[in-house]
Symmetry: C2
Subunit: 370 residues, 2 copies
Amino acid sequence: MNPSDASSTSRVHVSLGERSYSIAFSTGELGSKVVETIQSLGPVSHLVIIADQAVEPHVLTIQQSLRKLELRQNTIFVQSGEGSKSVALIADLWNQMLDAKTDRASVVVAVGGGVIGDLAGFAAASYARGLRFLQIPTTLLAMVDSSVGGKTGINLPKAKNMVGAFWQPSAVIIDTDTLDTLADREYRSGLAEIVKYGVILDQQFFQFLEANADAILKRDPICLRHIIVRSCELKAQVVEQDERETTGLRAILNYGHTFAHAIEAATAYGQLLHGEAVAIGMNMAARLAVQLGMFTNEETQRQLKLLQRFQLPTEFSESTPAKLWSLMQHDKKVELGQLHFILPTHIGHVERRSGVTQAQAIEAIHVTER
Amino acid sequence: MNPSDASSTSRVHVSLGERSYSIAFSTGELGSKVVETIQSLGPVSHLVIIADQAVEPHVLTIQQSLRKLELRQNTIFVQSGEGSKSVALIADLWNQMLDAKTDRASVVVAVGGGVIGDLAGFAAASYARGLRFLQIPTTLLAMVDSSVGGKTGINLPKAKNMVGAFWQPSAVIIDTDTLDTLADREYRSGLAEIVKYGVILDQQFFQFLEANADAILKRDPICLRHIIVRSCELKAQVVEQDERETTGLRAILNYGHTFAHAIEAATAYGQLLHGEAVAIGMNMAARLAVQLGMFTNEETQRQLKLLQRFQLPTEFSESTPAKLWSLMQHDKKVELGQLHFILPTHIGHVERRSGVTQAQAIEAIHVTER
């Protein structure tokens, strides 16, 4: 893999039949890209921008550029943080959209991280039984994760992402300049999902991450563009083959997530960033795979080292393993009463395993001294 | 049209590609049909029956028959009435489904009228991003309306059906015996939608309704089966060509509904049954069509007479026409700022019209003495 190839890629196509769309990559051209994209959508009556308050400067750029189109626009600011993915907040959004006279030819423009994308995406999916929406992710995590796949939703008090829809965006715009103001901790949280793509699908990409860890941490523009584009390509390959998570293939993207969701639930979605929980979850999943004789200790260490190099947490001891096990039973991947784990066989490949016992899971959760 | 043909039809197929499904018709065989249908769905982990308290005897039949399958089952009873289609109630359903350990291989079984179907359908569409659901309509209105088309949803305080999803059932079972306990007023409300199919699509069917009005009011089994099957066939023809209401064709099913939704909103969805509001709306729409020179006075009278023969209301004077006009502007059929009306050109055919002025609409709303 030559990083300069991917860094010059300006578009990744996600092929989903009549629900296909493109991800456009740019650097410092957000305003013109947004105008171009909206113009490509056909008749539009009105725009509802749903945005994270924290990215207000980017929202101003978007609003100003869109004024050229002489369309009525409304902006609704939402706080980022998992707490916003609530029934109360989605109900508030629906009512605000109605007050803004949102109609079936309106387009929802989501500007922010994963929380905003999930929330605005579900608002778009459910308002008037479905509106078009344009996604503008402004965190590394959202760029490489929620920009591909159409998963939208909210949390219930006892379960994350339990309510929602598969709802594909009409287009996605990723402008790396929007990362300029992203805090380092948030940035590193995004790196956890990027490491995940290497472990589940692409050993070469994993090697690239190892070889360029310093440049990546320093946000080197060429490296940055490469890892985002490659992550989107990898995720698109999976989603194209299993859009609605029915064949089991798409489940591989949940590597580390069964543990991560339980950890997030145990901390009331507050303390850890999603990518941090995923980093911990990947480490636990690797340990579980070792226990089951699927994966080596050496590879577990190799994954651990890369996560640590990206300054990500890899252990969790603030809840009892038994509590986490119980929370996992609420995971929506539980199917026919069976909890499935995605576990690595080697770096670059994972498999789906059921029949994991409580004792085995608890052993993997326990902090191990090595 | 020979009524005995349709009355012996046991199945109507709704062709929607990978979302195709069948409506099975039966008389007094609900229990065995439900078992047969669930068995045809592939692996099922668990059943969530969401049912109207008022049809408890039918629910008991279903529960008992399903016990043969040795599947875990939970039943959630909901009050019928538009008031149940609220954000609070859907949130309550989501949480109850989670507590019942509903997973992605669960099947939602909706037993009741339109309100239950809309609510349970949206719960199925949104829980875990989409579960299979089996619809068992137990009112005439739900049998001929919500059993075809996949519209699900809830109301916002200021707008009916504003939040929801297009979510096709996996199967529908219509057993006419479930109508035995249906109150006459509810039964007649269903007849309004049946008259609608005649006006918008099938002059012969309209003539059949005129010629057999007495038998229909007496719930003659052969007539009853015929009018339900024919209504489902007509609706399926439309939905198959425009599943998501994008080409404009499906909008013809909304004949009378722009007025009806405003009337229902003005009475806080409480006073009139949906079919009653539709009967009034059809009469107003016909008057509007006459004003616009599209439709004759004679045909308006013919429609009026049939509605009156079915003892349906045809006028509404409990709100000002200006108030109704204002409420119509919130209708989700408003597109690109334009309110569209579905208006008849003759009995058996309607067209979509925009550009109706406030004065014209108000004139059509006013009670006219003839």
